[in-house]
Chain length 236, copies 2
DNA sequence: TATAAAATCGACGTTTTATCGGAAAACATC
DNA sequence: GATGTTTTCCGATAAAACGTCGATTTTATA
């Protein structure tokens, strides 16, 4: 779709792999695109204010307890104006996490460029997931504690983005098999579940109880441990 | 609290450990006790009808989309009668999963009696978790996709029960260290997160996409893999 | 600065949640 | 089995939150 720019910044990997990787991340980071763009500057500001307000209120009260009126007030607009932007609270709730998710992907894409192996890239991905949650705790509260598992996110832009989150790991796990440090006889989907599950559980526990105290450290430890475990499965 | 019955059915383990284990599971399985008991039989039946109806409606529509009126209708009572039993929808939602959770603990307690080592008991626990979710999919949908992570379950009977779910694993992990097949230098809480996370992620994926097709098999595979991974950490 | 399109808002209708007082049913006592 | 008491149930109605619409203001553009 977009015009191809550069072939690859990390020469150690076969060029077809590089392009697959880059286009995957390109696609993922740019997925969240609003269907109807706002025409006026003021409106773009309003939209941003709504999203900011919604994030604060949702994170504070939880989605179900939050009132549209509160969010509108927090955004400094009237209730009916909010409805001009989002047709329901649910609609709004599912839109709020998108921009951060895109930002995470972008940030990861930039950082991963210097990593050449799938192993290093996976490690970075898991570590950055935990760290991004720590840095954006309100967003993480919303995403991990209220939205991620919800059934009703189906057929949503958000569901696609969450699935993308998984797709990246699946991609890297399969590359890990090719690189020889992930056991080829294990179901890759199971491996993905194991990796995501471990890290997410850590994040959820932190969001709920603020334990472990240092999420960055704990995330790194968990990620390194998980990958070491995978490597252990091979050398036997 | 309850009069002690039998000391222990599995003699291979030190008796103090056995009693700690049994009393943990006793306590856990019997925790969900309603504060105000209903006096009349009819009322007990009504309460059960409400819980059944709520489970069906919540699982079908999701908690936030469900209407109290629908649940009352499904239970064959008036809306105001429902409020006689639960002071809000949230209140009701948090009560629904409790009985099944207690049933799971009881069922596990019975099955675990024949297992002598912490390793076997942990394996059984993880396998049974996945299998119980498969058997009670409506309940699992509600618990895993809507309630488990929710912040607002705090200070609820339900939160205690969910924490109990974790406590059992923590107990077994610590025993695993004593038995020598879990690395003693790893943070036990991290290990718990890893185990729960992996299995839960599997269950969630199944609830959302019905993949893997055979959850029982996948659960067993995942559980065995996780435990094997822990064992691999020791022999090095 | 005139004009059309876009954005905002207050007023109002609808839906859902929750309360309350009294009727009906179950229970206890004689 | 009549009577008084407690428990359960429900219809009517209040309260709260959601969502719509037409009128008005603001913005972009020529």
């Amino acid at each position: 779709m977009a015009t191809k720019e550069v072939v690859g910044e990390s020469e150690q990997i076969a060029s077809d792999t590089v392009s697959a990787w880059d286009s995957l991340l390109q696609e993922i980071a740019h997925r969240p695109k609003r269907a109807t763009e706002r025409k006026q500057d003021r409106a773009k500001r309003t939209e941003q204010q709504i999203l900011n307000a919604a994030l604060r209120v949702f994170a504070r009260d939880g989605i179900s307890r939050s009132r549209i009126a509160d969010i509108a007030a927090e955004a400094g607009i009237s209730t009916s104006t909010l409805y001009e932007y989002y047709k329901s609270k649910e609609d709004l709730a599912y839109d709020v996490p998108l921009s951060h998710l895109a930002e995470f992907f972008e940030s990861y894409h930039a950082n991963a460029a210097s990593r050449t192996s799938a192993r290093e890239r996976l490690l970075l991905y898991l570590v950055m997931s935990a760290d991004y949650a720590r840095e954006h705790a309100e967003w993480a509260r919303l995403l991990y504690l209220e939205i991620w598992p919800s059934v009703f996110v189906s057929d949503t832009e958000l569901r696609h983005s969450i699935d993308d989150f998984t797709r990246v790991i699946l991609f890297l796990v399969k590359e890990g098999v090719a690189e020889g440090w992930v056991a080829p006889d294990r179901n890759p989907y199971e491996t993905v579940a194991l990796l995501i599950g471990g890290v997410n559980q850590l994040i959820i526990t932190w969001l709920l109880y603020r334990k472990p105290k240092n999420l960055t450290r704990a995330g790194t430890e968990m990620a390194e441990r998980l990958i070491a475990m995978l490597e252990n499965e091979v050398r036997r």
